[in-house]
Amino acid sequence: MSETDLLTPPTGTPAATGTAAPSPQPATPPRSARDRGRRHKLTVNAGRLAVLVVVLGGWELSTRLKLVDPFFYGQPSKVLTQIHTWISHGTSQGSLWQQINVTLEEAALGFVIGVVSGVFIGVALGRIRYLAEVLGPYIKIMNSIPRIVLGSIFIVAFGLGLTSKVLLAVVLVFFGVFFNAFQGVREVDRNLIANARILGASKWRVTKEVVLPSAFTWILASLHVSFGFALIGAIVGEFLGAQHGLGLLIRTAQGTFNANGVLAAMVIIAIVALVAEGLLTVLERRLLRWRPSQLSGPDL
């Protein structure tokens, strides 16, 4: 067996890997290039700031000059005041944190249930052809229903509490995740499955160790959109009938012709959604570590 040891290259030499992996050499680029990079970043950030100032400033200015009626369109400064009031004095339905909490709880529950069931059923149908053929048309029909309308039924059936909102969020999340999981399973490289089976994997092991990881790229892509859907489900549910939550906050503001209140709630929801999106991106990076980074290529 000693002759095979001759095959062993000096382990871990950069020469051996050089062709494949752009080894993360801390190659310091020439000074001018680094400066250029920094300047580029600066100009981008300055541009972003300028856009913000122009849009918000223009809005504020035009309402102050009475070019636009702040009664209908709100006013950035008043929106800020509204948020501040909510934070310091609470809302008409209790503290702001409670509202955010309620909405988040509904959205998160709906998201988790929707994702888990979507992945589960998507993978099952993707793997078991018979199931897909039987259930396929029904799923298509259900997908073409404007599902948001189901919210009304849920409120009637399950009342003003948590359940109706969670259900609406689940219904909205499920289909996106389901179709992605299903497609992801269908797109798995046949060679990888054949390889796993020849290596000795049972059908279940193939699903768990080849199909799922392979479909994960697809599933994760759907999660970004899905949390947004979960939030929409929760908020629309609250809008239709609730005792707490950001959706109710919006409805109350609408009922009192408080445009700033509506916008303020919108800003809060946007912040919540952005934070969730950030968390999902972190999760995605962790789970897809095995993928070559696509950021290193040239801009196309």
Partner: protein, 285 residues
């Protein structure tokens, strides 16, 4: 049809047991247009235990189909496929398969890839890990255990694939143009390494390739298939001495002589296949 005995075979005089036997095998596929496409017709092939058999033929001649029949991934339309004297009914545990394209799992590290086989077959984790490290050393990838496949070069990924297959110690190793995606130099090096690895466990090998030079350099016998539907046109024993160095064996007189002979048989088939691809619409149904 059996040729060179394994060098260390205890009793070279005894008949070597048959590892693979295809008897009158025909394989047809449904085409999208509703017709039938015949990939193999009445194909007969025998590979002895420990024998290295290369299969050459023009493009689309059903070489890969032959392998998927032996592996049990597909069943023949007619005829019999026997592995170690038993008819193939499904994917057998004694089969190893190295694919043309990358089939290592991109989300598993190199070590996890190599230990996948033993794990699938229920070996305890520690044992599988130790075996995998051993095989990684043999294919020259010690120190790369924690890399992901995309961080390796094409040649290194092929070595991972080889270790992944060989760790199961298959009695039969099927290889479907395994080195065709590599550059010419890497190919020759990999071929030599394959011979060294083959010598460790001596499985029966069916090595499909369209590269005649590669086929002769590696094999104990070269099987030439006809243009599709494929059947065996001729079988050439290769009695070049082992161990061989693939990069150099091709300069030997015996090699050149063999090359001429086999090419003579292969040329007509290649021309037939080529004519079909160039004259549109005249392909046989």
């Amino acid at each position: 049809m059996t040729c060179t005995e394994p060098l260390f075979a205890p009793h070279p005089s005894q008949p070597t047991p048959t590892a693979i036997e295809l008897r009158g095998v025909t394989k047809e596929f449904d085409t999208p247009g509703g017709g039938r496409y015949q990939a193999l017709r009445d194909l007969n092939l025998t590979v002895a235990a420990g024998e290295f058999c290369a299969v050459v033929g023009p493009t689309g001649s059903g070489k890969s189909t032959t392998l998927s029949l032996v592996s049990g991934l597909e069943a023949p339309t007619a005829g019999e496929v026997m592995v170690r004297g038993r008819p193939v009914t499904g994917i057998g545990p004694e089969i190893g398969f190295v694919f043309q394209t990358d089939a290592v799992f991109p989300w598993k590290s190199v070590l996890d890839n190599v230990m996948a086989g033993p794990r699938f077959r229920g070996k305890p984790k520690a044992q599988a890990q130790a075996d995998a490290r051993d095989w990684l050393r043999r294919v020259g990838l010690s120190g790369f255990e924690d890399r992901y496949p995309h961080q390796l070069s094409g040649g290194m990924r092929k070595r991972v694939a080889l270790a992944q297959s060989l760790i199961n110690e298959p009695g039969i190793l099927l290889m479907d143009e395994p080195f065709s995606a590599l550059d010419v130099q890497t190919r020759a090096i990999m071929a030599t390494e394959l011979l060294l690895l083959w010598d460790l466990t001596r499985p029966a090998v069916v090595f499909v390739t369209h590269d005649l030079e590669e086929a002769i350099a590696l094999a104990d016998k070269v099987v030439v298939l006809t243009a599709g539907p494929a059947t065996v046109k001729a079988v050439f024993p290769v009695d070049l001495p082992r161990p061989r160095v693939v990069q150099e064996v091709r300069f030997e007189a015996a090699f050149v002589e063999l090359y001429h002979q086999i090419w003579e048989a292969l040329r007509d088939e290649v021309m037939v296949a080529y004519a079909r691809t160039t004259t549109a619409g005249t392909a046989p149904k």
